[in-house]
């Protein structure tokens, strides 16, 4: 296990969370909490992946941690939990998978027929990973609500 790697991961993913928090114009008092959510969530994912878990379940665990933390900060700072959920999860959004999937689509369109098959496979894998990771993020950050707040629907 590479602990230095995890520490670096903590730092950079926290910076990602704060950067996007500024882009989404969150209240200033929530920035530190956004840093903590983003850092711990992504670092947990990296840790699990180093232990051999694949990316989708690792993301589910990381996002669930973000969900629990955002539930805590929501009560502590009296701010809706979606602020911390979105900013904390943004570093886990499968941007590079989506990028490779989109690039793959274009390569399928422009490749010679004989070479299409491996590109097709690769693109499909990237699309599947994108979808799975997104589902894991959404399920993870809503998990505390689904578990602890099973209130009657109001509408």
């Amino acid at each position: 296990m590479n602990w230095l790697n995890i520490l670096q991961d903590l730092f950079w993913s926290g910076v990602v969370a704060v950067g996007f928090a500024v882009l989404f114009n969150v209240p200033r008092k929530t920035l530190i909490a956004c840093f903590i959510c983003g850092a711990l969530g992504h670092a947990l994912r990296t840790l699990l992946m180093q232990l051999g878990v694949t990316i989708a379940p690792a993301t589910l665990a990381g996002a669930a941690l973000v969900g629990l933390l955002s539930d805590y900060f929501a009560r502590r700072l009296e701010t809706p939990s979606l602020v911390f959920g979105i900013c904390g999860a943004i570093a886990m959004v499968p941007g590079s998978f989506a990028y490779r999937a989109m690039l793959g689509l274009i390569r399928i369109a422009t490749s010679a027929p004989a070479t299409t098959e491996p590109i097709l496979m690769e693109t499909a894998v990237n699309f599947i990973n994108t979808g799975l990771i997104l589902a894991a993020i959404a399920l993870g950050i809503t998990m505390p609500m689904l578990l602890f707040r099973r209130r009657k629907p109001v509408v």
Binding site: Q8, L23, S96, V154
Partner: protein, 267 residues
Amino acid sequence: MDQEAVIEKPPLDHETLRDVIDLSLWAGQMLLQHGADTDRVESVVHLIGTSLGAAWLDILVSPNALIVTTISGDEFRTKVRRVVTLGVNLSIVCAINDLAYRISWGEVDRVEARAELLRISAVRSNYNRWVVVGMVGLACASLSRLFGADLGVFAVTFLSSAAAMFVRQEMSRRHINAFMIVVVTAFVAGAGASTATLFQLSPNPQIALAASVLLLVPGVHLINSLRDMINGHMVTGLVRGFTGAVISMCIALGLLLAMQLLGVSGL
């Protein structure tokens, strides 16, 4: 729904009921515009309406409209409001959420609520635009670090995504079509990031290409999409997901245009 409780509330007069539906719709519209998920829109609109004296509210959140029916005594009223989705602004979501709770505790009445909504809708950004440019550049550069970039790629990613963010701000100030903005911004980011390959600044310069467009990734759309679906709001969930997919396509288009013009390969 508890019908007994509904009948017990004193009926509102014509003018008041009109005001109640107007205020709750306005709040719901702002939430939907600035990145709240469907469940939150529904519960906040419901809370505001019932706290201001309506007996019950029925709410239909559609991807680009909000329909609310208020019930009070024997009267009911229905109103539709078109909603055009704007950028994500979580401060507004927070402020509306806060206002809804203050209304429900009786701290804010109808007149004050209107003034408060007007104040929230006019509020400017919390951060200086140059701070936003710098932080977005830093966020994308940090993502490149997470993908394993070295210092050269880090610097290139920072500069190109900050430049792209600047272009994006300038274009959205001029109210250019949202998808057009994405294509042009991705082009700028891609052209900037291509320099890492062109000048051979790093052994794996393609990381800069992948990371510098991430400021455009429709993270909020995609997360909200799945979240809506988990909560059973399939229509809004599907539309948000599809919007996210179209935005991703626009990113790919702009990026590829830059890469092919400069003769850079992405993989």
